[in-house]
């Protein structure tokens, strides 16, 4: 049952993404993407990561995509005629890259499967938090500095000359 759900969600994700990257309008792409991210969040949930799933929805589908939408609106890029859509010829190299990457990963991943631990019931929020603050506390500090400087940078660039 879970497996079927997984494949279904995977299909949704892929189709959503495919639609997003081939969308005529950026706004539509965002919408497709949000769909795809929702499906992905469910996959996360299926894979025993409820917290990441939640954050995926909140931060990605919520905040980041909205940020995108906001910029698209601000720069008045919503109209398709303003954007040169990639020609078919420009897709070819991308396609080749895609095939190589997928193929290679598939080949490499198929080589030998490690056995999963016997009893896995997903990772609880508690477990997650303990790991985060006991083992990766420094990472939190670093990422906070980074976020701060994202702010600084954005502000700096936004400055009027």
């Amino acid at each position: 049952m879970e497996a079927i759900l997984f494949y279904l969600l995977a299909a949704v994700t892929l189709i959503g993404t495919l639609c997003a990257i081939t969308a005529r309008q950026a706004v539509r792409a965002i919408v497709y993407l949000v769909t795809s991210f929702f499906a992905l969040a469910l996959i996360f949930y299926l894979l025993g990561a409820p917290l990441v799933a939640a954050f995926e929805v909140i931060i990605y589908a919520g905040a980041i995509m909205v940020l995108f939408l906001f910029v698209i609106m601000m720069l008045e890029l919503a109209h398709p005629e303003k954007l040169a859509k990639p020609r078919l010829s420009e897709w070819w190299p991308a396609l080749i890259l895609m095939l190589v990457v997928i193929g290679s990963v598939a080949v490499l991943a198929a080589a030998r499967q490690p056995a999963p631990p016997a009893a896995f019931h997903g990772i609880t929020v508690r477990e997650f938090s303990v790991t985060l603050f006991k083992r990766y506390g420094v990472a939190v500090e670093v990422i906070s500095m980074q976020l701060l400087f994202a702010l600084v940078g954005a502000l700096y660039l936004g400055r009027r000359r």
Partner: protein, 464 residues
């Protein structure tokens, strides 16, 4: 965690604190003061790191003041301080105002201090990306020049893609090995194939940061667009940091059988293409960019041997390369007026109209060319020694030949400095801070060139 443990990571604390301090007090202080705080903080961090004693045991989870950190952090701090000194006059001339600049430099320094201490892939990744992040800002810091923003965009887009590659690589490594610990991830007895796939992606991602062919294309543009002191910082410390990251990974990886060929080609192409493309380059910063591509090729050559000697060579070369490129870009920065001297031809006759700065530029060029008795020669010697010892004689010969060709474009600068009639106006007087910074860098070039033994001893301590 004891107080002593905390002491050993004080450089990180100092730089982070100073960055925040500069940000907070920036609006209240003059630019000079912010800069002074930043310089003082980086020097203090450097001194602290130099005097603290390293230990391999982690201080905080995932953070250890390793011998590598003990070696690298002072270099990073010194380089940051020199960059700040160099950029003070430069920023004044170019109307780059605000406390953001010193704060961001300190942020970069903070991330760099974290990097060699990192004990797991996550912190390593975050440190790497924070460094890159700081540089996105720094590269585009000059709002008056369109090139600066353009360079920022290029660097950011490339950087983001590369970050995604590295992250994907790390994720594959994690998926294959089930651990993020640096010491275990690459060597874990999990799914070797998946790990090696991740490894490959990490290598290309780091190749971007080291600007190895074919991930090198951003380098000339970004160097050209970035303000000269930033380019100095970017071309030296960020490379050394990336090399250190690669080194840390390699040090724990099993002997590289499958990665040898990719690294071999990266090194080969970087050396050859970097040097060739620089030959007829007219823009001095682009020329230096190609030269840095080639130099990173040499560095990879030493890494490729997978031997202790090779890693020692990488570390030594990193330090030396830092001094050389800081001097080169520093001289460019110090010689700039309201506009930078873009073309090599713009430096005609400068060797006589500004003897000190011209001399430093010439010295750095000779050092980059690897002419004794400059540090560049010692570095190159060590690299090729390690390569030959590691069995890479053919590649070493290619490297030597391309290095010989590279002398041409380095000399071209020297030729313009001393052997052409001046065309542009003679440069203004140098800011004392710039003079001091250039003095430091050139002294390092000469001293290491003549008596490298102490530095080598330090390097050996790191790898013991």
């Amino acid at each position: 965690m004891t107080l002593a443990d905390l002491f050993s990571i004080m450089p990180i604390v100092i730089t982070a604190g100073a960055a925040l301090l500069v940000l907070l007090t920036g609006p209240l202080l003059q630019a000079g003061s912010s800069c002074a705080i930043a310089v003082a903080a980086s020097l203090a961090a450097g001194l602290w790191a130099a005097s603290a004693s390293p230990a391999n045991a982690p201080v905080l989870p995932g953070l250890a003041f390793t011998p590598l950190a003990h070696f690298l952090i002072p270099i990073f701090c010194l380089a940051a301080a020199l960059t700040l000194l160099l950029s003070h006059g430069y920023n004044q001339r170019r109307a780059i105002k605000g406390e953001e600049y010193p704060a961001t430099v300190l942020f970069a320094l903070f991330a760099m201090c974290v990097l060699p201490c990192a004990g797991n892939l996550l912190i390593l990744f975050l440190a790497l990306e924070s460094i890159a992040f700081a540089f996105y800002i720094l590269v585009s810091i000059d709002l008056n020049r369109a090139e600066s923003g353009e360079a920022g965009l290029k660097y950011l887009l490339m950087g983001a893609v590369a970050a995604a590659f590295i992250a994907f690589g790390f994720s594959l490594i994690f998926a294959g090995s089930g651990t993020l610990a640096l010491s275990a991830a690459l060597a874990a007895p999990g799914n070797r194939a998946i790990v090696s796939a991740g490894w490959g992606l990490v290598v290309i991602g780091l190749a971007f940061k080291l600007s190895l062919v074919p991930a090198h294309l951003w380098t000339p543009d970004v160097y050209q667009g970035a303000p000269a002191p930033v380019a100095a910082f970017l071309s030296t410390i960020s490379k050394v940091a990336a090399a250190a990251a690669l080194l840390m990974l390699l040090a724990f990886a099993p002997p590289l059988s499958e990665m040898r060929a990719p690294l071999y080609l990266l090194s080969l192409f970087s050396m050859v293409i970097g040097n060739l493309a620089a030959l007829l380059q007219k823009n001095i910063k682009r020329m230096l960019a190609y030269s840095s591509i080639a130099h990173m090729g040499y560095l990879t050559l030493a890494l490729l041997t997978g031997s202790k000697e090779g890693y020692a060579a990488v570390l030594l070369y990193g330090a030396i390369y830092t001094a050389m490129n800081l001097a080169a870009f520093g001289a460019i920065a110090a010689l700039s007026a309201a506009e930078e001297r873009q073309l090599i031809a713009d430096y005609s006759g400068v060797g006589f109209s500004a003897p000190f700065r011209g001399g430093v530029l010439a010295l750095s060029m000779l050092a980059l060319a690897g002419v004794p008795p400059t540090a560049g020669f010692i570095g190159k010697f060590f690299i090729f020694y390690a390569a030959i010892r590691g069995g890479q004689t053919a590649l070493a010969v290619v490297g030597m030949v391309s290095a010989a060709a590279s002398a041409y474009f380095y000399l071209k600068v020297v030729v313009h400095l001393y052997m052409h009639r001046p065309v542009a106006s003679s440069p203004q007087n140098a800011h004392p801070a710039e003079t001091a910074a250039l003095c430091c860098a050139s002294a390092a070039i000469v001293v290491i060139g003549v008596y490298p033994a102490p530095l080598m001893r330090l390097v050996d301590v790191v790898l013991r």
